[in-house]
């Protein structure tokens, strides 16, 4: 080594540490490469297995869907997962007799028992698949397992279990789970609403019963669910919510105003200090207001908030018995440039 080079001790240590680090990196890279190859081989095997299972079962499933009754071979263990995937995919796009025929076929093959076993002992992805299958089957025997699953913290698993429970028994699911889906903030409201469409009647009944007992922190979500299910809430419940001190509750309640029963409360909220409440009050008035509300909405066209002006102009357009000529008269009376611009915009939107 050059005498001027890195001092002997330091150089040796550096070279040794660097070589070891590089060797470890190289070994890890080789391991990763091996892992990648193994993963690709496993994927290929899985794809081949799936292709074979699909080739065997797809024609039979098609025959069942069109009402035939083919002889069914036994379901081989290696076919379990690809068959269940295929079956669940088909079920997701079918209704009525075809769906019932697929269910009957699955029961003949012992898919219900298989899915319950997967639900009890399977890995997470298998449990998700089993939950879907049991939901499509409407399997009452799986009710206790599904109910327990609906309470686990895992959002995907619990939400899929909720879906399955609603498929199995909408009334019982509404009774057991309505408080839960109000509580579970991790369950996307849009997903919950989509799932509950099937149980909207029973859920509405439970909601009407429990709404008066809910606190301000839970009430907005419960009201949003009611809104999504187009549930007409008892006037008393809605009126109480409209008088809440919490803006979030009032906003959620205003979105649920579908009848003129609470018209006085809605009119009072047009002057609320929170502009988001005024926005929803204007929208609600557009849905349930009367011709006489035109003056109130015209006043809102001068609101400092753009959204309040916009919704007020839209509400004016939607009021019953208010003709285009009436709106032109309102326009002619406006002095405020912002109000005028907004009404022009909304009238142009209508014309487009």
């Amino acid at each position: 080594m050059n005498p001027r080079a890195l001092s002997a001790g330091a150089s040796d240590t550096f070279v040794s540490v660097a070589l070891w680090t590089g060797t470890v990196a190289l070994a890890l890279t080789l391991l990763l490469a091996l892992q990648i190859v193994l993963l690709r081989m496993a994927l290929r095997r899985r794809e081949r297995r799936t292709a074979l299972a699909v080739a065997r079962w797809r024609p039979l499933l098609n025959q069942i869907i069109i009402g035939e009754d083919p002889a069914l071979p036994a379901l081989a263990p290696r076919e379990h997962l690809p068959f269940l995937h295929l079956w669940a995919h088909l079920q997701a796009s079918l209704r009525g007799e075809a769906s019932a025929a697929l269910n009957a076929m699955a029961c003949r093959l012992g898919v219900d028992t298989l899915a319950r076993g997967m639900l009890a002992r399977g890995a997470r992805d298998e449990r998700l698949l089993a939950t879907l299958v049991l939901g499509h089957l409407g399997d009452r025997a799986a009710w206790p397992q599904l109910l327990a699953l609906a309470r686990v913290p895992d959002s995907a698993l619990s939400l899929t279990a909720l879906w399955a429970l609603v498929r199995v028994d909408p009334d019982a699911a509404a009774e057991y789970l309505t408080p839960l889906f109000i509580e579970r903030e991790d369950w996307a409201l849009s997903h919950v609403a989509g799932i509950l469409q099937q149980a909207s009647g029973p859920v509405a009944a439970v909601l009407a019963r429990i709404l008066p007992q809910l606190g301000d922190e839970r009430l907005p979500r419960a009201l949003r669910i009611a809104e999504s299910l187009r549930v007409t809430l008892p006037g008393g419940v809605l009126a109480a919510a409209l008088q809440s001190r919490s803006s979030a509750v009032v906003i959620a309640a205003l979105r649920g105003v579908l009848t003129p029963e609470t018209l006085p409360e809605v009119r009072a909220l047009l002057l609320h200090e929170d502009w988001q409440v005024r926005v929803q009050a204007a929208r609600a008035l557009g849905r349930v207001g009367e011709r006489s509300d035109a003056a109130r909405l015209t006043a809102l066209l001068g609101d400092p908030q753009w959204w309040v002006r916009y919704r007020a102009a839209q509400a004016l357009r939607e009021l019953p018995l208010l003709s285009r000529a009436d709106l032109e008269a309102v326009r002619a009376s406006l002095q405020d440039r912002f109000a005028l611009d907004m009404l022009d915009q909304v009238l142009a939107e209508e014309a487009a």
Binding site: S11, V15, R40, R224
Partner: protein, 475 residues
């Protein structure tokens, strides 16, 4: 008593410093990789459910898609048409013609039957003068803003001002979106009301086939520059962003496709006009201001490939792009020094920001300085050839390990390159890119850093597009 050899001590110190820096840099990214691995496993288990036919409940938040356009006459109509085919419950498209010098506006007028619309323009964020707002008489959810040139950030701000919906999605006019991209990227907003922004994985479209504005088959590019970028994108998105997202420390959402809660964007003042990296700057600023206000929030990353973009295929375009990216990064960090010094800095301020500062902002200086120093020391005899060789072995070995781990994540999750040959090719690129390409990138990043230091003015980036990957395409 012998005097200490100061030159030798300094050489020892610098050698060890450079070595430790490389270890820390790659070790940090490998740690992110480990975090991303867990997220991807969970995600992978839910893929089957996500692929089932979807029914909309009507409670999905509607989205305003913001499309800034500057001299895009050749592609703008096809891009908008493909965006109109996105599967989502409710969305509008707002195209902003940012004072184009070509006939972008005329094309839009003709293709979408535009008519002037008396928009009650709401100036929530100041922008350059808006000349007119148009509405398509053919598609009620398409509007066009014609404005005086003010840059991409200014265009996005103008689009935010006229948008009607609570979520806004900035999209590059030349991005190719997956049909379900909006549904996937808005998923975090449904789950968690504190989510203020979400981004998805952007992939390289070169080598793929596009038809009707959508990707129909995935392939690898033949061009070597584009191939290098395929691996780079895997690294940057799959574990770079996913790892940070798991800790709520993600500082970048790609401008090619990102969804934001509009009220949060308006609250922090919209996109900054005087920066090149307006996408990153906005995200860093959101972290800073929301943390200052102690507001609970989340910024999430969705690993699904939602957007495809054409990568530069020639040396000069690629070089300019990387210089711009580095300038953008420097501007974004420099404008938000309050974040790491905030009492409520959390992961973004105390971990992600310093990480970016040390390994991305300062990285080119230390990396290039390190290579230069080792070369100098070797040629002047300050270090032995064994030490020099060992240093190269570590630097290149760790680089390959890092890229290979990106490839592993890809194979574990989406394996969008289905053929064995493609995998083999990517494996080769993982090795090859460490012999020159990454070092070249470091030189470009250093140039970007220097240009930032010299404070040259920002403008729309020019990108030379070939579009050869659109064989038989109608995009």
């Amino acid at each position: 008593m012998s005097h200490p050899n100061w030159g030798q001590l300094l050489t020892d110190f610098v050698t060890w410093f450079v070595f430790c820096y490389f270890i820390a840099l790659n070790g940090g990214y490998l740690l992110l990789n480990a975090i991303a691995l867990r997220s991807l496993r969970i995600k992978g288990q839910e893929l089957f459910i996500a692929d089932l036919p979807r029914a909309y409940s009507g409670l999905e938040p509607p989205v305003s898609i913001l499309v800034p356009a500057y001299n895009e006459e050749a592609t703008i109509a096809a891009s908008i048409r493909s965006m109109l085919q996105l599967s989502y419950a409710e969305f509008e498209i707002i195209v902003v013609n940012d004072g184009s010098k070509d006939s972008t506006l005329e094309v839009l007028r003709r293709e979408f039957a535009l008519l002037p619309f008396p928009e009650a323009y709401r100036r929530q964020i100041p922008t350059a003068e808006v000349r007119a707002v148009y509405r398509s008489t053919r598609y009620p959810n398409v509007r066009v803003i014609d404005k005086v040139n003010g840059g991409k950030a200014d265009s996005l701000n103008a689009a935010i001002n006229v948008s009607r919906y609570p979520l806004v999605c900035g999209v590059d006019a030349d991005s190719i979106l997956q049909r379900d991209s909006l549904a996937k990227v808005t998923e975090p907003f449904l789950r968690d009301s504190t989510v203020v922004a979400a981004g998805g994985t952007v992939r390289v479209a070169n080598g793929c086939t596009v038809s009707g504005g959508f990707l129909t088959s995935v392939g690898l590019p033949k061009n070597i520059w584009a191939l290098f970028q395929v691996v780079e994108y895997l690294r940057a998105f799959l574990f770079g962003r996913l790892g940070w997202s798991a800790m709520n420390g993600m500082l970048i959402i790609s401008g090619a496709f990102g969804v934001f809660r509009k009220d949060a964007v308006v609250e922090v003042g919209g996109y900054r006009r005087d920066t090149i990296g307006e996408d990153m700057e906005l995200v860093v600023r959101m972290h800073r201001l929301l943390r200052e206000k102690r507001r609970p929030y989340r910024i999430e990353f969705v690993p699904d490939p939602v957007c495809w973009t054409e990568a530069p295929e020639d040396f000069h375009t690629l070089k300019n792009q990387r210089i711009r990216w580095q300038r953008g990064l420097a501007e974004s960090l420099n404008a938000n020094w309050g974040l790491p010094f905030s009492r409520n800095g959390g992961v973004p301020g105390w971990v992600a920001f310093p990480f970016m500062l040390l390994f991305e902002w300062l990285g080119p200086v230390v990396e290039l300085g390190g290579y230069a120093f080792m070369l100098w020391a070797f040629f002047t005899g300050m270090i032995s050839w064994q030490a020099f060789g060992a240093f190269l072995f570590v630097a290149i070995g760790l680089g390959i390990l890092l890229s290979a781990s990106g490839l592993l994540l890809e194979e574990m999750s989406f394996h969008i390159y289905p053929r064995g040959k493609q995998l083999l090719m990517l494996g080769l690129v993982v090795i090859l890119e460490n012999f020159g390409y990454r070092q070249l990138n470091t030189v470009w990043r250093l140039t970007g850093l220097l240009r930032w230091a010299l404070q040259k003015e920002s403008s729309w980036g020019t990108m030379k597009r070939k579009g050869t990957w659109q064989s038989g395409a109608s995009k």
